[in-house]
């Protein structure tokens, strides 16, 4: 415990310097989520701050989260493509075609604590999908 305290007091200076450098670098970095959109959502939830760096920080945090989810979904997509056995004809087409699907997205989001369920299909009558023998004519 004492050792940790000493470390933190010595490293406190470096941490502060690193933090102020990071906040300064935020002004150079342009987050993909535009500032106006972030400010709209912040105002909607009651977050008040005159400092632009904090809005940029929120934008960067959201961007990082979305990037992580998207990369996890990409891993799922690639893993699924690797396990599917294909002919040589299909291989070139399917390797290039990385599509973001609800299936991969729901698996990726599940690891981050968000549960997303998607309708597999929409049926317009109760007898669709049943055996033709048991269906009422």
């Amino acid at each position: 415990m004492n050792h940790n305290k000493q470390q933190s007091s010595d490293g406190g200076h470096d941490d502060d310097a690193a933090l102020s450098d990071f906040l300064a670098s935020l002004m150079d970095y342009t987050p993909t989520i535009p500032d106006e959109l972030v400010e709209h959502f912040l105002a909607k939830t009651g977050f008040q701050s005159p400092d632009l760096r904090l809005t940029r920080l929120v934008a960067v945090a959201t961007q990082k989260f979305i990037a992580e989810v998207a990369s996890d979904a990409l891993q799922q997509c690639k893993a699924r493509q690797a396990t599917v056995v294909r002919d040589k004809r299909d291989k070139l087409q399917k390797d290039k075609r990385l599509v973001l699907t609800m299936e991969d997205l729901s698996k990726a989001l599940h690891e981050h604590g968000v549960n997303v369920k998607h309708q597999e299909y929409f049926a317009d009558s109760p007898s669709i999908g049943m055996d033709p023998a048991s269906r009422d004519e």
Binding site: Y29, T30, T32, P34, F41, T45, L57, T101, M102
Partner: protein, 190 residues
Amino acid sequence: MKAKFPSKPKTHLHLHQEEPQNPSEFSFAIARIAVSQICQPMGYKATQLSALNALTVVATKYLEAIAKSASSLANTSNRTQSNLLDLTLALHHLVTLHTSSLFSISSSGGGIIRDLADFVSFNDGIPFAKPIPGPQITSIPSWASSSSSHVPKWLPRFPGSVISCSVNERKCGERLWEDLVLGGGGTVWS
């Protein structure tokens, strides 16, 4: 339904959807463009529309969750404006599921801020594709006249003059009771 990502950052998304009708749809449309711009450099060539919409909803809710917990943390400390510490604690509350929470929490906020700093230094910024039109502020009529001197000049005028014009003419010749008594004179109403 699939949508193709634009090959260059400034071309349109080929979506056959209607124009946004209200402010929430407008902000959702902008957020969807931003999310698709984040996903595109990963290597995706196309996306299902429902997947993109779901990811956009998650992004907006994440943003709102950060802001809500940061503002409530500021309010519990008798402040109306949030500062960096509130934001850091709010991020800690949200990110407890990630592996980065295993880092030690030092005085400067520890693992979360360091993660973000690494993310910023590692990635180039992707600016938003299109400029967003600012809000159009129409002129608001104010109490400029001195007749109502008890009302401060900076307040907007009562909307009464606008409403009475549209309400005066109703079906079956009905009229507002106030108009009859104050302005109607001797008209008999039944």
